[in-house]
């Protein structure tokens, strides 16, 4: 009994000094025990490092055309073979990784920031603003899957930068909904009233007190959104509406090479595998942090 009481005392003091430290530590502990999260995290790290520094170690450029070495199968010289123009597929995939990651991160960051701002404002102010904003989100959500991105690209024109905008807009509603939901539950807490009582303004309350409390479901959403963003962006490029040839974007590579699939299967195999690995990494990591953040898990 005495032991127990002492322990409680210790907990109380640490809690007072570092209000969020305990839960962060707990989060890391759970995250480290979650194999899926670990594998996903390391894969993301690996992909990032390889696509950032990889290009410095490559002897074959992305657009080194060599018509004497067309459609070569994988070999010591061309690890993943060559395409119809004799370009080294391995080098192109490494460079393409940069595009994929940049598009994934940027579009989700953009969509996330806008979506979260909209969602928090909507949940915090409530009333008419809330109704109008959420109806707008419903309208955006009415365009299923890739269709909204397709519509946006058809307006802006086929280009990888426009794909970023398209995917960003497309991911706004899900962020807005989550941020709104969490804001509503935080708003009910007493301490928000207390903060308002000491004269804090709305903006300050939103940024300092509401945002930190809604951050964890948003992190999960962001990670999983990157996976979807990569799929959508590569899909648009595959349709010829995103990155344009000779860009080594993975979807564009698939589009570019699929006419030669019959003669050289590796042309369509490897860029697709690269997409699968990247998407899988973010899905694994997202699943893992969701489990780790779930208060029901041990």
């Amino acid at each position: 009994m005495a032991v127990l009481k002492q322990e409680q005392k210790i907990n109380l003091t640490t809690k007072k000094q570092h209000p969020r430290l305990r839960s962060m530590k707990d989060f890391y502990r759970k995250l480290k025990r979650n194999k899926a999260a670990l594998v996903g995290g390391y894969l993301i790290l690996f992909l990032t490092i390889v696509s950032l520094i990889g290009p410095y170690f490559l002897s074959n450029g992305i657009n080194d055309v060599d018509y004497t070495a067309r459609l070569q199968p994988p070999s010591a010289e061309y690890w993943l073979g060559t395409d119809q123009h004799g370009r080294d597929i391995f080098s192109r995939i490494i460079y393409g990784g940069q595009i994929t990651l940049i598009v994934g991160f940027l579009s989700v960051a953009l969509g996330g920031i806008v979506g979260v701002a909209i969602g928090i404002a909507s949940g915090y102010y409530g009333g008419k603003i809330d109704t109008v904003i959420m109806r707008l989100m419903d309208i955006l959500l009415a365009f299923p899957g890739i269709l909204l991105a397709l519509a946006i690209v058809s307006i802006l024109g086929p280009d990888i930068v426009n794909v970023i905008y398209a995917v960003a807009i497309y991911s706004i509603p899900s962020f807005a909904r989550i941020a709104r939901g969490s804001t509503l539950s935080v708003k009910k807490l007493e301490y928000i009233d207390a903060v308002r009582g000491i004269g804090a303004g709305d903006f300050r309350i939103l940024v300092r007190h509401v945002l930190p409390n809604v951050i964890s479901p948003l992190i999960v959403q962001a990670t999983l959104s990157i996976a979807t963003a990569i799929l959508t962006a590569s899909g648009l490029s595959f349709l010829g509406l995103g990155a344009q040839p000779p860009s080594p974007e993975w979807g564009a590579m698939l589009n570019d090479g699929r006419g030669y699939m019959h003669d050289a299967g590796h042309i369509a195999l490897f860029p697709g595998l690269a997409i699968v690995i990247a998407v899988l990494a973010f899905n694994l990591f997202g699943d893992g942090i969701r489990d780790a953040l779930d208060p029901k898990s041990k």
Partner: protein
């Protein structure tokens, strides 16, 4: 009570559909460049452009244009294609049914596979079977459907020559595209079914069933599965929408003359009436399906909800 809910839910559709039509309508106007110039082609005279503007009513005030767009759209009149000059509705109608078929078959496949896999996984929780199914599901939902389509085509059409590589219509032509499009959905439904089953299995009434002396099979299929399917129904509705959207890619891979492929083709030639009509039709269908799912969810859930 239920009728009131259904009416209210249908009424909620009105603002959403107005918003959707407006967004689709405005597409043409926020596009960089003057639509009439695009339509007239390069080197057209000022008179030609002016004529086009007049003919398409592009000189009218925006709200006027929207109202006529809306009233025409309600009557399925989307004007004529800028590229072929044919009536848009007759151009998209046959394409639409191909896409609808593709999406419906893929939904059926994903529900069928997903539910079976999810139940097996839940029943054998933490076993090798469970881990394997969940890993496969994770891969399934991480795979771009167009790439899966290419791989299936390469193996089963090109290398093995078992199935046709392209087209739509005959039974054998349907198989590969449906697998390509339905796999991700199956993966999502399998994950959903598993977690839903696990939650239901820990419910009190499952213990009651066991206390009656029923076999484990009856516990799973009669007592757990029906309850576990309720949340899965909502996912199926969403999934159907994603498949409608995803069909764009599958149709491109398998050279299927569906609505999605039509949109992609016409984006290049900026054939806005066709693009607008196609997107509007798919979005409206999706919205309707979701309301239907919502209502059926409500009916299924009635027994639990009204506690």
């Amino acid at each position: 009570m239920m009728l009131k809910f259904i009416v209210r839910r249908l009424l909620q559709l009105v603002p959403v559909l107005i918003g959707v039509t407006f967004l689709v309508f405005i597409m043409l106007h926020i596009t960089p460049g003057d639509p009439a110039e695009v339509l007239a082609g390069e080197g057209a005279t000022v008179e030609t452009i002016e004529n086009i503007n007049e003919r398409l009513g592009l000189n009218e005030p925006l709200h006027q244009q929207y109202l006529s767009f809306l009233s025409n759209a309600v009557q399925f009149d989307f004007g004529t294609s800028w590229r072929t000059g044919r009536e848009v509705s007759s151009e998209i109608a046959p394409r639409f049914f191909v896409t609808l078929e593709l999406a419906i078959y893929s939904t059926i496949l994903s529900v069928f596979l997903g539910v079976i896999a999810g139940v097996i996984s839940a029943v054998r929780r933490y076993s090798l079977t469970d881990v394997t199914i969940m890993l496969v599901a994770l891969f399934g939902l991480s795979m771009p459907n167009f790439w899966l389509g290419l791989m299936l085509m390469q193996w089963f059409a090109v290398k093995l020559d078992w199935l046709p590589a392209t087209g739509w219509g005959s039974g054998s032509q349907v198989i590969l595209p449906v697998i390509a499009l339905g796999t991700a959905g199956a993966a999502i439904i399998a994950r959903m079914t598993r977690s839903s089953m696990l939650e239901i299995i820990s419910q009190d009434y499952i213990r009651t069933a066991r206390a009656k002396g029923v076999t484990e099979k009856v516990v799973i299929y009669r007592h757990a599965l029906r309850n576990a399917m309720i949340p899965v129904v909502t996912v199926v509705g969403l999934q159907f929408g994603y498949l409608l959207g995803g069909a764009v890619l599958t149709e491109t891979v398998f050279a299927i003359n569906g609505l999605g492929r039509l949109v992609v083709d016409r984006i290049a030639s900026r054939d806005f009436p066709v693009i607008q009509a196609s997107i509007l039709v798919i979005a409206s269908l999706f919205v309707f399906v979701n309301v239907l799912v919502d209502i059926s969810y409500r009916i299924l859930n009635k027994r639990i909800d009204l506690d």
